[in-house]
């Protein structure tokens, strides 16, 4: 399953809840303000790093660039472009947006 999160981890609990519910082998894609959750030294970094061995984490490149966060991505998080976003949706049988 592909989980899609779009809210900042400082403003909403959706990223934390998503990571707690993402099963082994799931993919988590961070877009819009959720890309802050994929950056180094932020307070939510530990939770994301803890999930990295269990789930694949992706972050949308254009959203990182817009926010000046391109150089701060946590190691192990894969950066994808819009075509990569489409591929992820196509590769997974189901996807869920954490609103």
């Amino acid at each position: 399953m592909l989980h899609i999160v779009n809210k900042s981890p400082f403003e909403k609990t959706t990223l934390a809840s998503c990571l707690a519910h993402a099963g082994p082998g799931a993919a988590v894609l961070l877009i819009e303000d959720a890309v802050y959750g994929a950056t180094t030294l932020n307070a939510a970094e530990g939770a994301l790093k803890g999930a990295l061995g269990r789930v694949a984490v992706y972050a949308l490149g254009p959203d990182l660039e817009a926010r000046g966060m391109k150089e701060r991505v946590i190691e192990g998080v894969k950066v994808v472009d819009y075509a990569g976003f489409v591929d992820l949706v196509a590769e997974h049988k189901t996807s869920q947006s954490w609103l």
């Binding site: 900042s8 400082f10 307070a43 490149g61 959203d63 660039e65 817009a66 000046g68 966060m69």
Partner: protein, 133 residues
Amino acid sequence: MTEAAMDLEAEAAGVVKKFMYVNRKAPYGTIYALEGLEVVLISAAFDQDVSLAFLDDGVYQLVKGQQTKGIEVKNFSPTYRALEGYDIEKLYVERESLEARGLTADQLLVPVEVMGRDELVRRMEEQDVVIAF
């Protein structure tokens, strides 16, 4: 003299109030940051004592190196650099908010005054008008 006439007289006399704009949202994900900035620019025309506070995700508005071509949205971050030209020079950034996000003042695109939460609260209490975005 009627009350309305007194208000008019006070305005003509150039009564200056302390306005603080409180910015708590990240840019681009919502419209708050851009709309807040527009209001700040409008307020500059009224010769008031304006300050901007950045806390919580609002500190992300000031991060250097924003490139929005990929998301096809206007990059409004250079506008913060123009505020000085409108005599808006009081930019307060909350230290706790920066630290929680792994940011430092040198990663911001304008000179700011970084202060602890207690000091920021004190500045908020001094205001005549506080407008939050």
